[in-house]
Amino acid sequence: MPEETLQPNMDRRNFLNWFLGTAAGAFLVSVLYPVSRYLIPPKVEESTARSVMLSIKPVDVKLNSGQIFRFGNQPAILVHTPAGELKAFSAVCTHLSCIVQYRSDVSHIWCACHNGHYDLNGKNIAGPPPKPLDEYVVNVKGDQIVVNKKA
């Protein structure tokens, strides 16, 4: 008899309730687990590019101006400083990830979203950004600009 194999105080109804509850719980888990996994987007190969050759020529970048370019799958900004230097930074604001731009009137890199200012070394100097922008290395070879990630 099945009753004899159960704990003495567990009668048939208790057993059935327990059995039903467990089965319902198992069913729920078997539904919720795949759904929760489904909702997490799969990892996409991150661009591991360490350097990029720009389609812009050095002569085309005006003094005291900036330009957005693609570094892998991330936006970056090339700045021609008033001192004549070419510099490049990540263009993703460290505050809430908007894309920054160069403001020639104040010679700052600036984020329009929450009015964050960075100086020409990428350092956060005013507004809400908590960290500086990542700086890249700019090399000019003839009429080509090559931007590298720092080692």
Partner: protein, 365 residues
């Protein structure tokens, strides 16, 4: 046939046997609405509901032309606005009705707060209402992205980055919301699904619950009116109050039609993930006070990142708002409690001032 059925036709009797019209009739005749000097605030809930039905109807119409992909979304809305007959009207109605609905929802919320309608036994009515407000804002946030224009792109980029500032779970939450590490076409399809299927389902359920509570408890008479011995005068819901309600709906419809006709919804430029955020970027007006607060916070407060402090504060503010019926012990005991009126006024004032600053402060200074 019973004598009182004689005045009804055969169809009524047929339906009554199957549906139970007699009970419904009794229920409708019993339903009354108190009349007092604050009765006017009763109309804003109904107006919000009316605007919600407009959202459902126009939303279904928009679905017929909209294409949820980063390559086609902007173009499909452009096509809708320029080629489809009355397409501009349907989209403008949807956009304006959303704004008006959030406005009437805020009025409804703050009037029930000021008039203490949340007190026993209506705590769950308040909680379901607070939930509906959160869902409505989620509606606004997800819908804003769908035209895939520049403003929407950056507003979403900022909005979905916000959960990312939390330590440990932040980056995971951000990925879950965006459907990837950045705002892309994957985010668009995700938001589309949430906007047209997930939220409508949850809102319908919660709204049903909210209306059930309202029906069960009837309209609340403000305690100060009760203390003065007022609020005993009533009007029947059917047809007196419903007809007055209909006047409110008609007024809302008039304002909506005028706004949609004279200020059609704009589309702007197509989103480009490799362009800087446009100058003067701003969210919808009902997020403006939060946006402006984030803008004014310094980068670090007591060693913690400013945005984290701001977002935690808003989270606590929301939790406080939802918990008010359980915190306001004095009103629950039937005593006067000015404190919560002052808190409500302070919240309204804060929202108004920050919103005003958001629209008037120079974008570049």
């Amino acid at each position: 046939m019973e004598p009182q059925d004689a005045k009804h036709g055969k169809l009524w009797t047929w339906l009554d046997e199957r549906v139970g019209l007699k009970e419904l009739d009794k229920l409708a005749k019993k339903k009354q609405v108190p009349v007092h000097r604050h009765s006017v605030w009763y109309y804003f809930g109904g107006m919000t509901l009316f605007l919600f039905t407009i959202q459902v109807a126009t939303g279904i119409l928009l679905l017929l032309y909209y294409r949820p992909s980063s390559g086609e979304a902007y173009e499909s809305v452009q096509f809708l606005m320029t080629e489809v007959q009355f397409g501009w009207l349907v989209r403008s109605l949807h956009a304006w009705s959303a704004n008006l609905m959030i406005f009437t929802l805020f009025v409804h919320l703050f009037s029930t707060l000021m008039l203490r309608a949340y007190r026993r036994p209506r705590e769950l009515t308040w909680l379901s209402g607070a939930g509906l407000m959160a869902l409505t804002m989620a509606f606004g946030f997800t819908g804003y992205l769908l035209p895939w224009n520049k403003l929407a792109f950056f507003a979403t980029s900022v909005g979905t980055d916000i959960p990312g500032v939390f330590p440990v779970v932040g980056p995971f939450l951000r990925r879950l919301l965006r459907g990837g590490d950045e705002v892309t076409g994957a985010t668009l399809t995700r938001f589309y699904g949430i906007h047209v299927a997930v939220l409508p389902l949850i809102v319908t359920l919660l709204l049903g619950l909210h209306l059930f509570f309202v029906q069960k408890h009837g309209m609340s008479v403000p305690p100060e009116v009760e203390r003065e011995g007022g609020g005993k005068r009533v009007m029947p819901f059917l047809p007196n109050f419903l007809l007055r309600d209909a006047v409110g709906w008609l007024a809302a419809l008039g304002v909506l039609a005028a706004l949609a006709a004279f200020y059609p919804a704009e589309l702007g430029e197509k989103a480009d993930p490799f362009q800087p955020a446009p100058i003067g970027i701003k969210p919808e007006w009902y997020f403006m006070f939060m946006f402006q607060t984030l803008k004014l916070l310094p980068s670090h407060i007591l060693g913690i990142e400013g945005e984290l402090v701001g977002i935690l504060a808003f989270g606590l503010g929301g939790a406080f708002l939802a918990a008010i019926p359980f915190l306001d012990r004095r009103t629950a005991r039937g005593e006067t409690n000015r404190l919560f009126s002052w808190i409500a006024l302070a919240i309204i004032l804060y929202m108004l001032v920050l919103t005003y600053l958001g629209y008037t402060m120079s974008a570049t200074k």
